[in-house]
Every structure is written in structure tokens, then in C-alpha cells.
């Protein structure tokens, strides 16, 4: 008697991850992206620091003006904005390599026979994409380091929140690239699909700006919208769940389409199930309204006393806004009042009747507040008028606790372009050196180093 022996399924993950990293760094796309990011991020940082310096010079003798100087808005967001541009337009070309290369060379046929499950393969590829994103973030991180070395103020919470938003965005783009590469036969097609999604988001934003109804709803699924709350210093739990869900969903779809030995019909069926899962996650995420204001100046919240008082109002507040979404007053009202109330109170609904609601033109501009059966109206967009109105409806006195100290602001005048050599000289040279090193053949004597017998 003999036995039918089969290969033990366990295999180490490290060689697979190392192979994926070699696939990414083996092409020129990664290095070109890195070089471009050095310039883009460096230029944005220097421009932002210069403008911040000019504003700081004006604020030198005015504490009121200084209070409006926040490094988050003035330096971090514009600097990371350049990184966002690189991740949107250049990173897909790098990310698609982890599948497209293997498809084009036929190596996929070998890969799917290795003792790894499809989920392991996709998870490893996504990890490699994450590592590539982290490497691409070096110029941006170095800009933050330069800012700190120059004496610039960085608040940990709001900075980490912003970086976290960029991480989620990078992973989302990476997973879309993974999916695009899985369904495409060539890297060119995959790149077109990803760019159609990313640039399509910009077009959607541009088209939907200031509109209501279907266009406004569509604009919510735009990728560019996902970073906005993080840039405003908000950590939205629902958005995080949504982005993580979408990332896992696209990676799952990539896993469905990656193996060549499955019929298209079965892939479509599995994709439909996965698509339903993504939609359910999105719906659940949209229902989660918890957000945390991470900013040092608490710009997204009322004063602590008002926040506490509002959170105690357990009844339902219904707000009807008779303003067109493109009206600047609506933007003010949303920023100064509505978005803060939504976060502070447990139960709020905001209704924006459309143009065909039958209201006369004389009612345009009215904002009605209804709480506990009482109704009041205001045309103000300032919380100083609206909060007392709400307290009046609820029958509670306005809080009398002392207000928190004002945000001091952090003016800084950075020396004239002294960090420029770092972004336009040292970093690119280091990149070239690393590229050259990555091109060198491996030491043959170490071919089997570290392997088990």
C-alpha cells in the first residue's frame, strides 16, 4: 500500500510580502511617483509656510489676528493636499502593479497554485500597497518634521486625525486599483479604470457643487469628499466605517476576480453578494452620526458648556431651512450652527424643502425650529442668536459656565526657503540612491538564507 501525499498548506507569509514589494519597487513607476512627490509636497509646503509667515507677520502685534492662525489649516492641510494629489493621480499606477504585472507575464498562473488562499494573496497585496503608500508619504512626513524643527506648532490629535484620513484614502485608492487590476487584462486598462473613478470624483464634485437633490446625493459618494471632514479636524466614526468597509469590499471583489480558474458566472454571482455587503456597510455607516472634534481650537463645536447643555436635551429638534443649498447663507448656517447642533444633540432632523414646495418667496430665508411641540423662527446664521432660541423652546436656561480660554493661535515666520534644498536636493538624491541600490543583483551566496530545511 502506498499513500496519496499532498502538500501541507501552510506557507510563510514573509516571502510573499517581500515578493510583492519587489514587484512594486522593481518598476520605475514607484520611483517616479516618489520623485514627483518630493517636488509637489516640497513646493506646497514652502508656499503654505510662506503665506503663513506673511499672515504671522501681520498678526505679530494683534492677539485677535494671531488667534486665527492654525497650523492645521495654514500648513498641514495644503502640504498634505499635494500628497493627496499624488495619491489620486500617481499612486494607482504603482498599486496596480501588484496584480497587473503577474497577469501580463503569466506569473499569476504560478501564484494561484502556491499554498496560499486567495484572501491571503489579496491581503498581502493590500499590505504591500499600504507599505508603498507609507513610503510615498515620506516627503509629507518630512515636511511636518521640518515645520516642527523650525519651531512650528503641531497639535497631536488634529495632526494624527488628518494623517489617519489620508491613510484611509490611500487604502481606498489602493483597493480600487487592486480591483481594477483584477478585472483587467492589462495595466493600461486597469489604470484607465482607476483614473476614471478618481478623476470622475472631481468631475462629480465640480458638477454637483451647490446643487441639491440627486446631484447632492451623488456628490456624497465622491472620493474627494472623504477627506474633507479630516481636513476640518473631525473624526467621523460613520465615515471611518464606510471607508474601511469600501476598502475591504474592493479588496474582496479583487479576490473574487483574481483566480483564473473560476467561471465568469460564478464570479458575477459572488460579486453581487459582495456588492450587497458593501451597500449594507455603507448604509450602516451612514446611520452612525458620532463625530469627534479633534481640533485644538474646537472650531467644530460650541463651547463646552453649550455642548453639555445641548447633549442633555433628549427631545427631538426638527429644523426646516428655507434656503437654497447654493445660497452663501446656507453655507454659513451649516458651518456655524447646523453641523454643530447635529453633533451636539442626540436627535435632530434637518429638512430643506425644494423649490417646488409651494412656499411663497416671502418665506425664503426662514429657518424654523421645532422642539417639544413649540415652534420658533429665525433668519440668523449665528449660534449666538439660535442657541438661546433653542434653549427657549426647550425651556432650559442658557448655560452660565465660564467659557474656555480663547485659542491663542500659533504665528510663525519661517526663514526664506531654507528647507528647499531638502525637498529639491537631498530627498531626490536619496531616492536616486535607493533606486540604484534596488537595481543591484542579490548576493547569490544568500540565496537560501533563512530558509528551513
Amino acid at each position: 500500500m502506498r499513500s496519496l501525499e499532498v502538500v501541507a498548506p501552510k506557507a510563510p507569509l514573509w516571502p510573499l510580502l517581500a515578493k510583492e514589494m519587489r514587484e512594486i519597487t522593481g518598476g520605475r513607476a514607484f520611483w517616479i511617483m516618489f520623485l514627483l512627490l518630493c517636488g509637489l509636497v516640497g513646493f506646497s509646503f514652502l508656499q503654505a509656510a510662506e503665506l503663513y509667515g506673511e499672515a504671522s507677520a501681520s498678526a505679530k502685534d494683534s492677539p485677535l489676528l494671531a488667534g486665527s492662525l492654525s497650523p492645521l489649516d495654514g500648513v498641514l492641510v495644503p502640504t498634505l493636499g499635494a500628497f493627496y494629489l499624488g495619491v489620486t493621480l500617481l499612486f494607482p499606477f504603482v498599486a496596480i502593479r501588484v496584480i497587473s504585472n503577474e497577469k501580463e507575464t503569466g506569473a499569476l498562473c504560478l501564484l494561484v497554485q502556491l499554498p496560499y488562499g486567495v484572501s491571503t494573496l489579496c491581503a498581502t497585496k493590500l499590505t504591500a500597497i499600504l507599505l508603498a503608500w507609507a513610503a510615498a508619504g515620506v516627503p509629507a512626513l518630512s515636511a511636518i518634521a521640518v515645520w516642527m524643527i523650525a519651531g512650528g506648532h503641531i497639535q497631536g490629535g488634529e495632526t494624527l486625525n488628518l494623517l489617519f484620513g489620508h491613510l484611509l484614502y490611500g487604502l481606498l485608492i489602493g483597493s480600487i486599483a487592486l480591483f481594477a487590476a483584477a478585472i483587467s487584462e492589462s495595466s493600461a486598462t486597469a489604470a484607465i479604470i482607476v483614473l476614471a473613478v478618481t478623476i470622475g470624483s472631481w468631475v462629480l464634485d465640480f458638477t454637483a457643487a451647490g446643487h441639491s437633490g440627486m446631484l447632492a446625493w451623488l456628490s456624497q459618494v465622491s472620493l474627494t469628499q472623504t477627506l474633507r471632514p479630516f481636513e476640518q479636524g473631525l473624526l467621523s466614526v460613520g465615515l471611518v466605517i464606510g471607508m474601511v468597509g469600501a476598502t475591504l469590499g474592493f479588496a474582496g471583489l479583487a479576490g473574487i476576480w483574481l483566480p483564473p480558474g473560476v467561471s465568469t458566472r460564478r464570479k458575477l454571482l459572488r460579486s453581487a453578494i459582495c456588492g450587497l455587503g458593501i451597500c449594507a456597510t455603507m448604509a450602516a455607516a451612514a446611520a452612525v452620526r458620532r463625530t469627534i472634534d479633534m481640533t485644538e481650537d474646537r472650531r467644530n463645536s460650541f463651547s463646552a458648556a453649550d455642548q453639555e447643555q445641548l447633549s442633555r436635551l433628549s427631545g427631538h429638534l426638527a429644523i426646516t431651512v428655507r434656503l437654497a443649498p447654493e445660497d452663501p447663507r446656507f453655507a454659513d448656517l451649516r458651518r456655524n450652527v447646523l453641523s454643530k447642533i447635529e453633533r451636539a444633540m442626540p436627535s435632530v432632523t434637518i429638512d430643506i424643502p425644494g423649490r417646488g414646495s409651494g412656499d411663497g418667496p416671502d418665506r425664503y430665508g426662514e429657518v424654523n425650529y421645532s422642539y417639544g411641540g413649540r415652534v420658533d423662527m429665525s433668519r440668523s446664521t449665528s449660534h449666538r442668536e439660535i442657541l438661546p432660541l433653542i434653549y427657549g423652546l426647550a425651556g432650559v436656561p442658557p448655560p452660565s459656565a465660564p467659557s474656555a480660554p480663547d485659542y491663542p493661535g500659533y504665528p510663525l515666520i519661517l526663514g526664506a526657503h531654507w528647507p528647499a534644498p531638502w525637498f529639491f536636493g537631498v530627498l531626490p538624491l536619496m531616492t536616486a540612491a535607493l533606486w540604484w541600490r534596488s537595481r543591484r543583483p542579490p548576493k547569490i551566496t544568500h540565496l537560501t538564507e533563512g530558509e528551513q530545511s
Partner: protein, 243 residues
């Protein structure tokens, strides 16, 4: 390791009724044959006969419309097929921008092969002089050797190889045949797709003759000779007689 006992002379694996179509056209039509432990089975047929499709379908690279792979009459689950067979395709250059040493090291690490195994594989495939070269820069012959070396590094009991001698000269072909024969002598089962019948005659124990996606004959050379009533016939003559 999963072990299933079965009689010494029984077929190791059976491929039964494998059918595959492309856009309604049959590429494989109920292909049935068996594999025995430690044998070299030649899949013989002209270009377009369906050899590559058959190998890829058996390996699970292509989905089949019908048919199954069994062991002792029991169907083998898809996952276990992947753990039993490894398919070495024809005409690919895997990981072209990486060095030969890196590709071999990757495969060796995945399958936890020892340094000695890797050294023996490099020697058997004759890859020593190109370890420091990129896969993209290899000649056709060395690219073939790399693919064979990848197959040699896998521990699967059954190895499917598509045109393993393509790109080799006569001497290289004979050397590689010797390596494959040694492998079979050590208990590994080889299923080789070969279109050069003279090569197939030298290296294979048994043959499956394929034409238009249909098995036209199967057995040892002697069995095929008696089947076609050509006692001294070459494989080429037998193939022509059966197709």
C-alpha cells in the same frame, strides 16, 4: 500531510470526462485517462490538439464545464487538487524585472526547501551562470530552465509540464530527460505535454494521444503498437494511424 491508502498498482489519479468549450466550440471532449505513481505520462498531440487546455483545466487554471479528477474512485476536492498537482506553464517569464536568484529564493521559501534542495535544483536545471540576471534578459532556453526549476522546487507529488523541452538543443533535451527520469524514479509522477514525438518516445512510460480535444489512444508504446497493428511502428506512425 494527508494520507489515503491505495493499492500499489492502482491508478494514482484518474481524469474522467473532462470537457471544456470556448465560445461554444469544444476544446476538450470527455477526456479520460489515468496517472500512476512514479510514471512519466506523455500528452501527445499537434498544435491546437488541446494539450495546454487539458493541463490548465486539470490544474484548475481554467474552469471545466464537465468532468472530475478522482483518486480510488472518489472525487478529489478542488483544494486538495491544488495540493497534489503543480502545473508549469509554457511561454511565460514570471517576475521579469526580478533576478533569477530572487525568483528561485521566493519559491524555495514558500515551499520551505532547504539550501541543499535549492543547490541541487540549480545544478539540475543548469541555472548557475544566470542567477544574477534578470528574468526578462534570459534567453528562451534559460527562461525554460527557470520554469522547470520552479517546478522542481515544488513538493507536489504530481507535476504537469507544458512543452518542457521547448527551446533546448538535443544535448540539453537529453540532460533534462535524465533529470525528469530520476525524479520519476524517486516517486514523482510527471505529466508532460510534448509535441515532438521523438522526444516523447525517449522519455515517457505511457502516452495519451490527443487530437481535436479527444483522446485517440492511451497506453505504453507496445500497447499502442498492438492496438494499431504496427509491431515496429514509431509513435509518429501510430499517432497518424489513430488520428
Amino acid at each position: 500531510m494527508v494520507a489515503q491508502a491505495y493499492p500499489e498498482n492502482a491508478p494514482f489519479l484518474q481524469v474522467a470526462g473532462l470537457t471544456k468549450t470556448f465560445a461554444g466550440q469544444f476544446a476538450l471532449r470527455g477526456v479520460t485517462f489515468d496517472l500512476r505513481r512514479g510514471e512519466v505520462l506523455g500528452l501527445i498531440g499537434p498544435n491546437g490538439a488541446g494539450k495546454t487546455t487539458l493541463l490548465e483545466t486539470i490544474a484548475g487554471i481554467l474552469p471545466a464545464e464537465n468532468g472530475h479528477i478522482t483518486s480510488r474512485g472518489e472525487e478529489i476536492p478542488e483544494r486538495q487538487i491544488r495540493q497534489t498537482l503543480f502545473y508549469v506553464p509554457d511561454g511565460i517569464r514570471p517576475y521579469g524585472e526580478q533576478y533569477v536568484a530572487q525568483v528561485l529564493s521566493f519559491m524555495a521559501s514558500v515551499f520551505r526547501r532547504s539550501a541543499k534542495d535549492v543547490e541541487q535544483t540549480i545544478a539540475a536545471a543548469g541555472l548557475s551562470e544566470v542567477l544574477g540576471k534578470r528574468v526578462n534578459s534570459l534567453s528562451k532556453g534559460f527562461a525554460r530552465r527557470l520554469l522547470l526549476a520552479i517546478g522542481f522546487l515544488t513538493p507536489h507529488p504530481v507535476l504537469l509540464m507544458d512543452e518542457p523541452f521547448d527551446g533546448f538543443d538535443l544535448k540539453q533535451t537529453r540532460n533534462m530527460m535524465s533529470v525528469l527520469r530520476d525524479m520519476a524514479a524517486n516517486g514523482r509522477t510527471l505529466l508532460l505535454s510534448i509535441h515532438q514525438m521523438a522526444d516523447a518516445e525517449r522519455v515517457c512510460d505511457r502516452f495519451v494521444l490527443l487530437a481535436d480535444g479527444t483522446v485517440r489512444g492511451a497506453g505504453t508504446l507496445e500497447q499502442l503498437r498492438s492496438q494499431t497493428a504496427r509491431p515496429d511502428g514509431r509513435l509518429e506512425d501510430i499517432f497518424l494511424a489513430l488520428t
